[in-house]
Point group: C2
Chain length 777, copies 2
């Protein structure tokens, strides 16, 4: 991905899109010189400050404090002064300016040719990486050379704490502002290295940020180093003659802890910087490429016929990898570490959207995210008890594990997050065969979530198991009875927990699970209620949904989307208007619970009522559209989700990229057009090739194997009937799978090629007025 | 009502119960000497300050500012220093102390005999009134005499602004604290008179508080007067010899305005004080008694057989009168002007609970409250538009008309307040025949609320008119479809509006009502949906209610009531637990929509699930219990509601008395045991005499007539079958009514006595575990 503009109107978007992260450190893609910027953020996963959550009317169980990601000490800053002119692209003349995000190298390259107001011209080249190999490290290789005449320069490489640039907003998706969240504890500098240690006032977390420098300077250059509480600075002053070049490699290290002392953290940063000095830029860059080569070998997606989409798919995958790669026991926030949006919170997005991709392309990252959930299990168990429930009630949004949702109908009531965690757990276990995880962390997650459902639902007089008063994925329909998505996911949660207890009886016994409890889970799962409107022949998303009034889409002007910013919740809740795929998502994740005819009818019904006010919607819609036979529509949705951030579809990429949408882009390829399903832990395929493409080829890992699925059209006249899929196993034991229901056994060296069946004939579907996806022509 | 104790634990309750008000001014019943006190409030109806309403997550249409009643300049203070000892009942020795609320005189009398720590003994006698005759005035007649030896004394009579004594609380029923809400604008004093004018910072309201004094002093007494911004003070110093008496009559005047200048308000207070001086204490007290004589003549209730209940009923009626008497164009807050509870807001309680009593006993007061609603109509129309609705959406809670509810599921979603306003409007019109009101304010209230319902409901596919996503009276079941209470009240609203348009075609035309619109109202009303559970043979309070899980009452300890302070809303909402009469209230107000059998079955079903966590519950339960034949239960509920404040049943009388419960006490007498119904504007009776009583006699006014209904048992052996009712018209045209369905025509001088039928035989009903009303033995 590259940008050659510096348009102030998309400056913040660029900061998000060019953000680099390894899941531990995140650096927004602001320019080294710091200005102009919108949100010049630096984030370290899990590092947050608490803030009081004020409620206009108190209520039992309302969270009293929130958690907000902190913009930590900024180490990206390298300010260049060309004589008397600071490098600032808003002044002087930009002769050329380009930045490239290299997805193979894991590096953002920047090249700027600039003539200062004083007439001197300079070329600045920088390369920046956040290391996948060493999670505490980032590095910037910064070169300056004169264009034409030489000049004197000063270069200031900063560590700067307590930058703040978030403004209060009435958009609930925007972050809460924090004022000077970091309190200085320790500041040290030695030669070209400096470390600042700070602490947050309320959450009591401590962070060390360190920098060191490798310098390649002209003779006569002078360096000075200084540091105080909120600023450490290396200054280089030099004359730079024509033909000379100055290189500064800035090494950055971040470590934080809730328990370790300031000096221990300083030492940790120093140690990391020492290792980075030893490696130098070239070795750091080589390790970066190696990590990514391995990732793309296991997970790349190739698209023939749409280069822009090809790029968007890979950019999306890169951002998902960045968000999850080295989180270890921290969360994957909704915006990764690319911006402060949603306060840096993680949601159900992680388990339902992000982890499928990571499970099948970078399973260690999926394990890391689930390990974080497991770490928060005691908090979730306590929350369940507070709510009068058994088992665990995971938070709707959080950084550290405590519920931070300030509006419970679209927060705590979204209990499906618990089944989503169970779903991701079961998927990870099935896809990796990681028995050590399954028998310890995995079964605990499954059992405690199953217990939640057993206490949350009840057997009604009509001999069905009802789950009342919850909110499903569609946040425009809240606090309802028997949401089909929730009930089906809970059903699966209860069954997978019961199965896991059978497989790991000792672990089950340690958790106090009795045979009786298992039988109650199975009994509930067997009769879980799924509202169905016989008259319309469709499932009701929740009880009575199809009896509700219709939204007047024709009277809704385009600028009134997203609706939640322009209409009261009570209006949204009582009408048949769907924010995001809900029943449609159920038809993907629990496709085994619907007939093909139900899927087609349900899809058509909800398609006409879904406004996609969430970035989580287009991907599931694409997947089911592809399954039921709306291939063009599926393709259009694929493009919408793939370009979510590049085209700023939801208007809030400034606060960070949408990691779940990015992962959804992968899902549309693999689950949508690849038709990959993993019901019951077995993977199957039912590929369909969109008319626009000649070829779609994806790789995925499953139980240690790498598998390649190549869907291709041999003739290029667009006759869909000529397409076929080739399945290739790149390593490991033979794999039982299926192609459109036909059993297939794959073995290494024994490719299987099968024709694609014609897609089903389906009547066209419609979207709400004005909400059709943009056609990709 | 009298109290002879000064128990610190019920000091605040006493301040509420002995509060005096005329609907314009409210003085808490704190002692003249000011200390000890808990909440020493002085309130002037409609005088509030704004405060920001913080929301942890923003939402469209959420109110951004709240309104809180201001504790205005305190004029009650008269501090007595006996030699070197300030009169403070916590010190020295209280020889006797008694306060009496005289319900005929409208005066609180206080007599204290006290020996100071310095050994001097004194008798303080005070009488206090807030004038019904002159709404701006209050007065205190304060006498001091030595008991035994004489002494020197100093008496300080204060006007004191910016007292503040409310602490923050997590109980949503508690008021929000304000810090120094009054900014001084003007301070004047002359002879024994002083006036202070203050202004609020945000709401921009201005208030003048004035005092003047009539003094009867021993020779040689010296008076000084001083005033500054927040304090004006008259000081009397004197020697008081044995047998001498000192009298100070303190006259107080309050006036406020959002528009008038400080000097205009000062002049207004001075004028009122001048008139009060002219009258003097005796004339003010005589006018007070005259006003009350008239009220009791028109509305008294006599009970033979239970003196404590007799007193409680009259105290309740007195507090309702105080709350509503002279509001004129201001609201009747939930706590009247007796305390700062609920921030001084008015709710639907006014129309549904308070106005029935006022309509039939003090109709001018009912008109005042409805006039206030009408004044807020433009705000309600704007709110409806903001919510995307037609007509008017009146606020759930407010002082000035703007929605102040910070939690919409139990606030804005309670749309039934609009039908409740229409119901009260129609009742007032029918009961008074006030055509001038009916054809102007009345029809506007009816039409704008009908328009709300027409836009809030919709015709569903099943050819019924549904009202989805609203909250009925039961706040433990929120944001539901087709709440029976709401739907029946909306049905009546639509029909009464349609009828009014037929009666006042010119007014209807001015409001733009077309015949088509009227027909749509009637069509909707005709098919309004009323969920009914065929299996159980009861109405579902709202859609699917009877399918919900049951609350585990046996696992709920007594200290966990009220449930909303101990359980999350989501648990309350999804279970069959009812905070307060909802369907049961519908069976009272829309008793014409149910059969006798339905009433009995529904009552039994909901009785077992209603926890009475609201003071609004016991009265409707008593009324329907009486109707369906549970006379002992009805009697017990009557006692519970009558003693709500005297026994502090809900634990929050400290913040003020519950005006709606007080009015409910009247309703149990008249609508419960009197069986009075007013469906369609016609009053009918079906009296039942509880076994405990020999006689229940009540008076009410209807269309200018005063009517007396005397239900009595001739023999005292408790045989219910011997009871009879005597109907007597005390003035006006003959009246068509009925007695247990038998038509009766009443004429002046022509009493009708009819026997009471035996009450129906009914199976016993049960309450939730631990929630039976306390038996009155």
């Amino acid at each position: 991905m590259r940008t050659a503009r510096l348009d102030p109107s998309d400056l913040a978007a660029t900061e998000s899109l060019f953000a680099l992260s390894n899941g531990h450190i995140g650096l927004r893609g602001s320019l080294e010189e710091g200005e102009p910027h919108v949100v010049s953020g630096t984030y370290v996963n899990g590092f947050y400050e608490e803030r009081p959550l004020p409620h206009p009317e108190a209520g039992y169980g309302f969270p009293q404090s929130g958690q907000t990601v902190v913009n930590v000490t900024d180490g990206k800053l390298i300010r260049l002064h060309v004589g008397d002119s600071p490098l600032d692209l808003r002044y002087g003349r930009v002769r050329s300016h380009e930045r490239v995000l290299d997805l193979r190298a894991g590096v953002v390259e920047r090249r700027t040719d600039w003539t200062a107001p004083n007439g001197s011209s300079v070329r600045v080249t920088s390369r920046r990486l956040v290391s996948f190999a060493h999670r505490m490290l980032a590095a910037i290789c910064y070169d300056v050379e004169p264009l034409g005449d030489g000049f004197y320069l000063a270069l200031q490489s900063d560590l700067l704490a307590n930058e703040s640039n978030v403004q209060p907003s009435r958009d609930p998706r925007a972050p809460a502002p924090l004022t000077r969240p970091l309190q200085g504890e320790l500041s040290s500098c030695h030669e070209h290295r400096a470390v600042l240690v700070h602490r947050t006032a309320r959450s009591g977390l401590r962070i060390a940020a360190g920098m060191d420098h490798l310098l390649d300077l002209p003779d006569g250059a002078v360096t000075t180093m200084e540091s105080d509480e909120d600023l450490a600075r290396l200054t280089v002053t030099s004359e730079l003659k024509p033909g000379q070049r100055l290189r500064l490699v800035k090494l950055l290290a971040y470590s934080w802890s809730s328990r370790r002392s300031a000096s221990a953290l300083r030492d940790q940063a120093d140690a990391a910087l020492g290792m980075a000095r030893l490696a130098g830029w070239d070795a750091l860059a080589a390790q970066q490429r190696e990590y990514l080569d391995d990732f793309w070998d296991r997970g790349d997606i190739e698209i023939d016929g749409d280069p822009a989409l090809q790029q968007a798919v890979r950019v999306s995958m890169f951002h998902v990898l960045q968000a999850g790669a080295r989180t270890e026991s921290q969360a994957i926030p909704a915006k990764g570490l690319t911006g402060p949006g949603y306060d840096g919170h993680a949601f159900w997005d992680t388990e339902t959207f992000v982890l499928p991709m990571l499970t099948y392309t970078a399973p260690e990252a999926a394990r890391g995210a689930l390990t974080w959930r497991h770490h928060t299990l005691p908090t979730a168990v306590a929350r369940a008890a507070e709510l009068g429930l058994d088992g665990a009630a995971f938070p709707w949004r959080t950084i550290h594990g405590e519920e931070c949702s300030g509006y419970w109908p679209a927060g705590t009531a979204g209990f499906h997050v618990n089944a989503d965690i169970a779903d991701a757990t079961a998927r990870y276990v099935a896809a990796t065969g990681n028995e050590e995880f399954a028998g310890t962390l995995g079964i605990e997650l499954l059992v405690q979530t199953a217990r939640l459902w057993a206490s949350l639902g009840h057997f009604s007089n009509e001999a069905c198991f009802r789950i009342d008063g919850v909110t499903g994925p569609d946040e425009y329909t809240a606090v309802v009875d028997d949401n089909v998505y929730t009930n089906l996911m809970a059903q699966q949660n209860l069954r997978t927990a019961a199965d896991a207890c059978g497989l790991w009886p000792d672990a089950a016994a340690r958790l106090g699970v009795s045979q009786d409890e298992i039988e109650r889970w199975r009994a509930a799962a067997d009769v879980v209620r799924l509202p169905y409107d016989e008259r319309l022949g469709v499932h009701a998303q929740s009880e009575d949904f199809t009896q509700h009034g219709e939204w007047d889409f024709r009277a809704t002007p385009p600028e009134h989307y997203p609706l939640l910013l322009h209409y009261p919740y009570f209006q949204l809740y009582r009408k048949q208007v769907v924010k995001q795929a809900d029943l449609v998502l159920a038809m993907h994740l629990r496709g085994d619970a619907f007939t093909a005819q139900q899927k087609a009818r349900n899809f058509a019904y909800y398609e006409a009522r879904t406004v996609r006010d969430s970035s989580l919607s287009a991907a599931p819609q694409a997947i089911i559209a592809a399954e039921v036979g709306h291939l063009d529509l599926a393709y259009d949705y694929w493009a919408e989700v793939a370009f979510t951030d590049i085209l700023n579809v939801h208007g809030n990429v400034d606060d960070g990229v949408h990691i779940a949408a990015a992962a959804g882009t992968w899902s549309v390829a693999v689950a949508g057009f690849g038709g990959m399903r993993d019901h019951g832990g077995r993977i199957t395929f039912a590929p369909r090739l969109p008319p626009k493409l000649h070829r779609l080829c994806f790789r995925m890992t499953f139980q240690g194997r790498t598998l390649l699925v190549d869907v291709h059209r041999d003739r290029t006249d667009g006759d869909v009937a000529d397409a076929a899929a080739t399945y290739r196993l790149l390593g490991g034991d033979p794999l039982d799978t299926s192609h459109h229901g036909t059993p297939v056994v794959l073995a290494v060296g024994d490719d299987v090629t099968l024709p694609l069946p014609s897609p089903p004939n389906v009547d066209p579907v419609t979207q709400p007025f004005g909400k059709a996806p943009q056609r990709q022509t």
